[in-house]
């Protein structure tokens, strides 16, 4: 089971280049796709889900180009788009039965699977209520159930935890972890903690380019020894923001505790900290901005390839 993306590009007209020469190969496991808004994550997901064709490059599913025979991938694909709708007059069971018929799943296993999925996404009690009366989080859970309907080998989920309450969110993370053993899961989000919990590999996308792709450990290693904490007065914070890449701030009685990502220790009694994925993510974005807009803050100037060998 292998998904290969080769020099993938997508342009909308002449002005907008949503993806630019993206390359990676995936085996079973969870790929966490991180990136800011407008990075190209959803475009990449839509191409992988055979909804949109790339402008250049190709996607190979077990060696076959999906542009030439998308049905081979669609047979084993589960897709939860970022924006999706439901038919408001159908209830959850009817909606899933409809999609099971569309996906060509035989009646008996479909019924069994639907019952199990509704239990997993905690909708059994409301399964017979019309979807039009569901809350946003409940509809999102219907979306998760439909993505798992055909027991997919490739599961693509775009911002799946948006709208879920904290408990459902943890439940979904666990579900993804458990499912990942024998399939490829691609999880797109800009919430780093979601990725931290489940991803076996991480890709960072920004402005249509793949900045980094590797294990969480390799990403963390890229900022090892570069994360610092200093304590400053509130009035000094704006100046510090100008100079350094600040990962977080916390106001305490002794001043503002500032978490900084920088090549060298900032002046003023800086204390070195264990890096987090959020630090690594921000550093990768900062490096890209530095390479396109001039020198990056705090001396984060290493290139993506230097820090993120997979």
């Amino acid at each position: 089971m292998q998904l290969t993306v080769e020099r993938l590009s997508k342009s909308y007209g002449r002005a907008v280049r949503a993806l630019s020469n993206v390359d990676f190969t995936l085996g079973p496991g969870v790929l966490g796709l991180l990136g800011p808004n407008g990075a190209g994550k959803s475009t990449l997901m839509r191409i992988l889900a055979t909804i949109t064709r790339p402008s250049a490059g190709k996607v190979l599913w077990n060696g076959s180009d999906i542009a030439h025979g998308p049905d081979a991938l669609r047979e084993v694909l589960g897709y939860l788009p970022q924006d999706f709708g439901v038919y408001p007059n159908l209830n959850a069971v009817e909606f899933l039965e409809y999609l099971a018929a569309v996906k060509g799943i035989a009646a008996a296993p479909a019924r069994k699977r639907i019952g199990e999925l509704l239990e997993i996404v905690n909708l059994t009690d409301v399964a017979k209520r019309p979807l039009g009366g569901y809350s946003g989080g409940m509809r999102q859970r219907v979306g998760i159930a439909q993505a798992l309907l055909n027991d997919p080998q490739l599961l693509i989920v775009d911002e799946p935890t948006a709208g879920l309450d904290p408990e459902e969110r943890v439940r979904f993370r666990n579900l993804l972890s458990e499912l990942s053993g024998e399939r490829i899961v691609i999880l797109s989000t800009h919430i780093v903690s979601d990725i931290e919990a489940v991803a076996t590999s991480i890709a960072i996308l920004a402005r249509g380019q793949l900045l980094a792709h590797g294990s969480p450990e390799s990403l963390l290693a890229s900022v090892a020894g570069k994360v610092w904490e200093i304590i400053v007065a509130s009035v000094d914070l704006p100046a510090l923001r100008q100079k350094y890449l600040i990962s977080s701030t916390a106001h305490r009685s002794d001043g503002v505790h500032v978490r900084i990502v920088a090549e060298v220790a900032p002046a003023g009694g800086a204390r070195q900290l264990e890096p987090s994925l959020e630090d690594a993510y921000l550093a990768a974005l900062s490096r890209q901005r530095g390479s396109s807009d001039g020198p990056a803050k705090g001396g984060i100037t290493t290139t993506a390839s230097e820090t993120t060998a997979a």
Partner: protein, 532 residues
């Protein structure tokens, strides 16, 4: 001043949003097509077999009437989305949380509607000027006579259309497909026929009577044996030009002008009424629960608080009992998908829909044969309009394209299942007349029924796929039903009853059209699947 700025800002934003859509280009192309049709004589003002010389006044009246009759009919469907768009995009929720008043909002949307329709009238006015130059029947150019009909007749009619569209959008019962059907009758009875029905000359919102009365005076003087015929018509044969018939236009008096502009006042009153009933994007305020807006596609966005990883331990494992679905359980079973599409089409209809459908079915068996095969069958199929109009458009309307189109073999399975579900509905609702035709007239009688039963769902599917909306089909079927089964127009009557000796000829035409429409639908869906 602040209110005026708010109204203009709403109108400007809505207008810009529309003109930057591809569909606006089609709207303008439609206006150009109408202008071209008028300029080339395909649409004409006729007095029996005759018409007058194309003077500035004549051309102004002709093209202004083309605007009021055709642009108002079709334009309603084009502009009736201003408020719904704010529901769909959720901009409405943002606006509802501002101090913006309902009146300002409704007036802003009305002005945007009016601007869209007005731009179509503008194109037609330019076409009118060009028409006089190129027709060359009367070299004297009278700008006032040519343009007055646009200012005094066409634009007030557009204001009225724009206002009715806003009113319909605010009324729960009329904001959907029912309103699209109802508009045809409002337009034909209230717009075209009001002055005739009431006998009051000035109750003439579309201006047809106003021009007819003035032109008929000249027609009597210039056309020998003139019997009082007047028609704005799609000319199917050459019209004879009466060279002495030089109509110089209406001598607009202050009263005339006030009567015409009063329709703009009526439009504003309708907008104020709309503001009164507007729910300000709070669907819970709808008086009828079943009509509350529940069909808005869901966009999953926004975030919730981040939960620490330690909470994960509190949530039980979830997938232990999840049954695998191996590839061997995949099936091409078309029957289940057909039944699923049928359920999708019929689910959500109220009990009274089924009651009326059952009544129409019984009437087909019980009524006299000619009544059964003509008005009852036509009405039974017309009753399906809101069921069929969702075909092909449902996916974009409810935002399920991404989920559906990423499934395997959708094009060869789902679309045919949807089409067959539509045909099955036509067959069941028309079963009474169909059975009687078969047993009374044999294959000869049954063939036109079959042609109609497969043609209508095919038309719905093709229009739905390409437009992503039910509106074109709802408007078109209503017009076809009125012109065909109700007024017995050969060829247009989709029940086949009015076709007489040409029945088989029209059956073949309908079969070919059905084939073309199905191909058009398949091509459209294939295109959507390729390009998203």
């Amino acid at each position: 001043m602040r209110t005026l700025r708010a109204v203009l800002a709403i109108a400007r934003a809505d207008f810009l949003e529309r003109v930057r859509r591809y569909s606006f280009l089609l709207t303008l192309l439609f206006a150009i097509f109408l202008g071209y049709s008028a300029a080339t004589g395909r649409i004409a003002l006729q007095f029996g077999e005759y018409r007058g010389v194309y003077t500035s006044a004549w051309i102004g009246a002709l093209v202004a009437l083309v605007s009021t009759c055709f642009v108002s009919l079709v334009g309603f469907y084009i502009v009736k989305s201003a408020i719904n768009r704010d529901w769909q995009t959720r901009v409405g929720q943002v606006l509802a949380a501002t101090p913006l008043s309902k009146v300002s909002y409704a007036l802003g949307k009305f002005l945007s509607n009016f601007a869209v329709l007005g731009s179509m009238v503008g194109i037609l006015a330019i076409a009118a000027i060009l028409m006089q130059v190129f027709a060359g029947e009367d070299r004297h150019f009278d700008g006032a006579a040519l343009l007055a009909p646009f200012f005094f007749v066409a634009l007030p009619a557009m204001a009225l259309t724009a206002a009715v569209a806003i009113l319909f959008e605010t009324l729960p019962l009329l904001r959907g497909g029912l309103g699209n059907v109802a508009w045809f009758f409002v337009w034909s009875i209230g717009g075209l026929g009001l002055s005739e029905i009431s006998g009051v000359h000035w109750l003439d919102p579309l201006g047809v009577r106003t021009f007819a009365d003035s032109m008929m005076v000249d027609a009597r003087a210039n056309i020998p044996g003139y019997k009082g015929d007047f028609a704005l018509t799609v000319a199917d044969k050459p019209v004879k030009i009466v060279q002495s018939f030089h109509w110089q236009g209406i001598s607009w008096t202050a009263t005339d002008i006030l009567q015409r502009l009063a329709w703009t006042g009526v439009a504003v009153l309708l907008v104020l009424l709309a503001a009164l009933v507007f729910d300000r994007f709070d669907s819970s305020r709808s008086l009828m629960p079943a009509l509350r807006r529940s069909k808005i596609p869901v966009t999953m966005s926004g975030e919730v608080a981040i939960v620490g990883a330690n909470h994960a331990a509190n949530v039980a494992r979830t997938t232990a009992n999840l049954t695998a679905v191996p590839a061997s359980t995949r099936t091409n079973a078309f029957g289940r998908l057909f039944l699923a599409e049928l359920r999708l089409a019929l689910k959500g209809l109220r009990w009274w829909w089924y009651a009326v459908a059952a009544g129409l079915l019984v009437a087909q068996f019980a009524a006299p044969f000619e009544v059964s095969r003509r008005p009852v069958l036509g009405t039974a199929w017309m009753w399906c309009v809101l069921v069929w109009s969702a075909m092909g458009a449902r996916e974009s309307r409810f935002g399920t394209q991404a989920v559906l189109f990423s499934s395997a073999r959708v094009l060869p399975r789902q679309l045919p299942a949807c089409w067959l579900a539509g045909v099955a509905i036509a067959a069941v609702l028309g079963a009474g007349a169909g059975a009687r035709l078969l047993f009374t007239l044999g294959w000869h009688g049954f063939a036109p029924w079959l042609a109609g039963a497969i043609f209508l769902p095919s038309l719905a599917l093709a229009l739905g796929v390409w437009s992503g909306s039910g509106k074109p089909f709802e408007g078109l079927l209503t017009a076809l039903w009125y012109v065909g089964p109700l007024n017995h127009s050969p060829g247009i009557d989709f029940t086949g009853a009015a076709n007489g000796v040409h029945t088989i000829h029209y059956v073949l035409v309908y079969f070919v059209l059905t084939g073309v429409l199905v191909v058009v639908a398949v091509v459209g869906r294939g295109r959507q699947m390729r390009f998203g």
